[in-house]
Symmetry: D3
């Protein structure tokens, strides 16, 4: 039995559930999906500001599950605090957009990304992942997560139009960005000219793959575990992991 | 039951067997590894020239298995003809070095690569994969596949020394490059300060993940299937797939 | 009178004081330096993990000063939560390493950076700032902030040796990275062959310059202020700024 | 007398003749153009798949002329197997798109490229040549080589429109990509606002220049000749060159 | 008292005055702006050719003020001869577009640039400054400096339209490029959605900052002063500085 | 008869003669080499400062030959004022380092460069040419042009050592940078493991190739000719070309 923590970074349980459902749909038979929502932070992350706060919230959340899960999926579109989480946890940690982009790389030349709202932070994220050369384009539709719940056909039509436009510009695959679009790729897939990638689904498969590879934790390098670190004002679990 | 073709690109059966063994060690319970060796080409690929010939040899080999396997792993260090194979085959195709590099990206910041012989073609390959920014360094040890068979401890010591040097330069993970090193990562792993990645093992896991994601074949873009293409002098199977 | 908040990101008051002293030495006559230390977080940030926690700690700290200062200097070597802080605050926010690197760009061709400890996170930071092409090299000396206090001549000698090495590789200026080296550039400057840049001093000058330019706050783009955002578990000041 | 082999990579003699005519128009008085068509492969290369097969076909073709020509021009738009051909042959080898792009670099700032059909493989090719920073844009017109023969004015009008658009985006010169457009640059040139570059013509001039420079064959590096390599199933000429 | 030389590179006094006025508006109380116009060169620089000539003209101009000013601002849009001027002068030298771009980096993610006329030389300049990754886009309006004087509202409307377009593409700030737009940012600022940056104003602030930092002149590296250099046909002041 | 102006940029006739001799050795039978030395500037260019002055000197020199030569070779290592010269002259203009680097690209994967003195300006130049990805490394030997005349064997030994080191790092060809090394590649070639490239020789061949291609002068773009430009203090020939 492999336990995979699906850690939302918003404090909205409905998004956690949406991601958990997408994760369960993708998980292998022996994988158990454990959803989790942080203690503090923005209800819905949609700015740099909320995202930076979420870094601590996610680490606080993860610390409470260290040693009790075999892998972690960060269910947050900007792969918030990803390397810090890798340093914190004794198990593999995978970001949802990272996983979708890397999977897209396995399917052809360049990939596109479509999301709801602004795209600049996605551009930066893909640049930080070192994948800018594989990115054919970014699109943001003028819709909110609420719109996606209220009028799905309208949002789906907007997404398909941008997907076609991305393909015309050279995308061999398209990532659907954002936790609020979890599960959408499966619905839209049959109508799209190229494969659509769901971050949660891709991250679950990568998490399972990493667990199966059974790689040792690094003893050196930039994500090696810390020890002997003093802190104040942090949750007992997080403070304990800093002390090592 | 998932059948994964492990397609060697040189014509030496012993290397095919080495790769198949590494693939079987990594495969999930329900995966069957099907090794294959091409009809023509170099006994051992170790130059740009032999590698370019191997592109055709691999496609010729794959064409004979189209529709009979659920995924393909290219067991050739330079991911030869990778996108062409994706265009040819109705199933996922994964390159061994590609898979190892993308997996390394999931483990930290930058990764290094060590291989036997020259490194320039690896540098170009990683650049073509768009991952140059994630590469911390490359090392080639002065040893041949024959040396690896004749005096394993000596080759292992050379590899470990270069791995340490790569870590000192910033690698959070190290890829062992080359089909002739298949299986070596598992042996050296406990002695290395960061995770070591075996291309065949990573490719098998990525192939399984792609099969599980069950993505549709693209109808547009640069790897969409071809049809109606005339040719001459090719194997019947390959010519048939060009005709569509 | 211009009030400049010098916001440390770790919870050690001595480092706050060190940075405040460097800031006061650099400040123009009319500038008042207001030091501040966060409520929670690591005593000394020296890992990705501690740094990610510090993002929230810094924003929490800044929220308490919004509207009461004319500019903010982030006294943390990795420019933690920099764009989030820009989105949060109604005044200019400058990161210390960002400021030093941009100032170095004004002095010649490429610049180097030397710090205590590992350099990979600096490499990433400079990449995120889009300045990788201006970076000639990075060096980390094997010393801790404690060493710098206990045996200054030894640490200074180590720094000077690396500075010379960076110059030999093409640096026209060298950034001293890390809050714990605040003030060191002024001491070592006369002995170095190229200008040395102190992040705190550079950030104070950039903060003063931005205040003088009196630019309007953006009404659009990725750092435009947020409003109407719900949250839970945050400090009243931070929650209030999210609500707008 | 300088013999220049103009090696087509598809198996259609008409395209070989078209390229040979363009080569003869560009050749210096003392240069003899020797056209050649491979034994096997696609009739017309227009996919990644056909292009990968063509690598072997070209090398097979070239091997039969080794020692009998002073230079080789690869008359294939994606510069297929270019470095392998350099490693194989004892004389200079020049790719047609490579030559056109490098010549374009000698004329101003950035250059554009227009071709028939998709552009992604050209984008990748120019990236592999390390010239992405010199590329202002790519355009593919919706026409086939057959259209170019059937209705030349219509195709020429489409090309000129895209050339104007590329110039408006910053191109100081425009490469006409693809063997099927050989000779077109000379016809359209007078109507275009910037120089148009014909790959075959540029490659012939570069081949003549390299022959005149009389550079020694490398004894080291990634294109040094191979020797002592075993193979099976290859043409006698190619197998002999692998044995050295 | 800080004397800042504002060195125009055109030989049109009206542009010198326009820049001097913008400089005075930005200067701190203790700064004195000293305008200067070169002895030779184009009336208005608007081509690569005129710009290359201006390099010598600027150095000739600066040599006459060496030792008599505390800083230099190059009032020429392409930051002409910037590093040469740094090597020549015993005081800080700042380029106007360089200063505006670096200041834009302090305000958010990516920035755009709008100017009158062509944009390719700006694209190259920003690339040379190593800031291509921070550039969201470039726009050239179809207007001349003369238009800006004759019909300001028309030119302002054109600029604002392009600024809005740049913001829609991801700019968090916009640089107004070109000496002829000096002072325009202050006029248009209230109507723009993001901060607008005036090169002269930014350069004056950076010059003041550098003077305050009081950095030593480099004794090594690519901008260290020259000495013992023979020349002929240069102005006595410039020849004297080459002799050292 | 093709007249090729070989324009030195420093004012030392001996270097002009050295370059002219190398040009004559490389020129085709029908090419006449016309050496030229500027009226003003540094005796020997070895700094950014001298190089910036040389831009004007070169353009001044070229203007006097406009219409009287069929091509221009800039015999100056940093390809000074190259694009400005292209805009000025009604014939092809080729830079010596540009030509050597582009020729190196035709020979394999990456190339190295070795020169006398500092390498940073070469690094920048190759970056401006957009060829950074093709550059394997740079080396500067601690010798001056005077040393090369006084003790050739010592300088040759230093060069060969660095060439070997560049090859070990991945160079498939090596450019000898600097006008003072004109002719050296031919002497050292037989002793080097990879081809050595002489900038003057390469530039002459590229100039001949461009003349043979007979491309029209651009009517648009960043190097289109200027007209109607006022100036003062320039040579009559240069001023006349600005007026058009």
């Amino acid at each position: 039995m492999m336990r995979i923590l699906v850690a939302n970074a918003n404090t909205t349980d409905a998004i956690t559930e949406l991601c958990a459902a997408a994760a369960r749909a993708a998980a292998a038979p022996g994988s158990e999906i454990i959803p989790a929502t942080p203690r503090f932070g923005a209800a819905v992350i949609s700015s740099r500001l909320e995202n930076a706060i979420a870094g601590h919230a996610l680490l606080d959340l993860l610390a409470g599950h260290a040693g009790q899960v075999e892998a972690v999926v960060l269910a947050v579109s900007l792969d918030t605090a990803l390397d810090a989480a890798r340093q914190l946890m004794p198990c593999p940690v995978v970001g949802m957009t990272e996983a979708a982009c890397l999977t897209a790389c396995l399917l052809g030349g360049r990939f596109g990304l479509v999301t709801m709202g602004g795209v600049e932070t996605y551009r930066e994220l893909i640049g930080r992942h070192g994948l800018a050369a594989r990115l054919s384009g970014l699109r943001g539709i003028a819709a909110t997560p609420q719109d996606a719940l209220r009028d799905p056909p309208a949002v789906e039509a907007m997404l398909l139009q941008e997907i076609d436009s991305l393909v015309a510009e050279g995308a061999d695959a398209v990532v659907l960005g954002g936790a609020a679009l979890a599960g959408m790729a499966a619905r839209l897939g049959p109508r799209a000219p190229v494969p659509l990638l769901d971050g949660i689904a891709c991250a679950v498969k990568q998490a399972e793959a990493l667990v199966a590879l059974n790689l040792p934790r690094p003893r050196a390098g930039s994500v090696a575990p810390v020890a002997g670190r003093d802190s104040k004002g942090l949750s007992p679990a997080l403070a304990a992991l800093l002390r090592g």
